[in-house]
């Protein structure tokens, strides 16, 4: 039955990816992208790639989101489209 969980995780990731691109406010997109990176880290762990999951969590969700947020702090949150 675990493949149902994986399937749900994969579709949830596709949903977060689209949401991160389509949302109007940059801050929301950055946070959703952080969630997207963390979901990807779960998929890697499910696939057995423990080192890649660890790195993706630390580097992708951790450092990447912090860099995005610190830039959005500097340039304001609203986007035209």
């Amino acid at each position: 039955m675990t493949w149902v969980l994986d399937l749900f995780l994969l579709f949830f990731i596709a949903g977060t990816a689209i949401a991160a691109l389509e949302s109007k406010c940059l801050l929301t997109s950055a946070i959703i992208l952080g969630a997207y990176s963390f979901m990807m880290c779960l998929v890697y762990a499910a696939l057995g790639a423990v080192d890649v999951a660890f790195t993706e969590a630390a580097v992708g969700a951790g450092a990447g989101t912090v860099f995005f947020l610190s830039t959005i702090l500097r340039i304001g949150r609203d986007t035209s489209q």
């Binding site: 080192d51 660890f54 790195t55 580097v59 912090v66 702090l73 500097r74």
Partner: protein, 255 residues
Amino acid sequence: MKKFAILVTVLVGAILVWGATDFPQWGDPNSPASTHVSDRYITEAYSASHVPNLVSAILADYRNFDTMFETTVVFTAGTAIFLILRLPLGPLARRRNSKHPQAERHPLPRDPILEMACRILFPPTHLFGLYVLTHGHYSPGGGFQAGVILGASFILLAIGFDLRAILARFPEGLFKPLAALGVLLYVGLGVLCLLLGGNFLDYEALRVLAPGISSAMIRSHGILIVECGVTLTVGSVIFGIYANLVSRGNHEGGL
């Protein structure tokens, strides 16, 4: 523009699916990817370097040239961001510098609860980073992850307190040379192996320095030294990038 983008994306997607039709079945143990070279990695890695974590063994022993250039990529990114953002810029760019007042943040009120929380969290995060570094051989972890965790512990303090307060304790004069030191440690070890008669980054050549140790253990120690170099570089560069990005180069404002 949108229609062009959709067209390109669908075209790329269609070609990829067409290419993927004759992939070997997902997950079968004797697909070419799993039988040609990787089975030799799995069977020989432990006897060669006594490192149970096969990923760390391959990362820092079989393909350590990749990891050396990986550390150089991180160092290059740190230097490039320093070059682009760190004020004052060269005279050419200063003449056309920021005409637009950027969103100046009013100084945040100091929040004692947040500061105490960060103060309490900093030592365990640091300790965990060092644990991940030293146990990269036995459990998932290693140079990159340890470096990011150490960098993140400094970023945590910079968010809790003020960037200037943390830069007083971990100044630019310290984390820039540390980043260079990490890469020098890695490349220096390779050159040392070269001078001792082996090929570049061939840890076997280090046995001349420590005759008593078996070749597997010397490779294990070589991997540890290399991981320390990676941790130094990644940790200081991640904090350096954060310090430059959040304050747009003048190291004053920021979160």
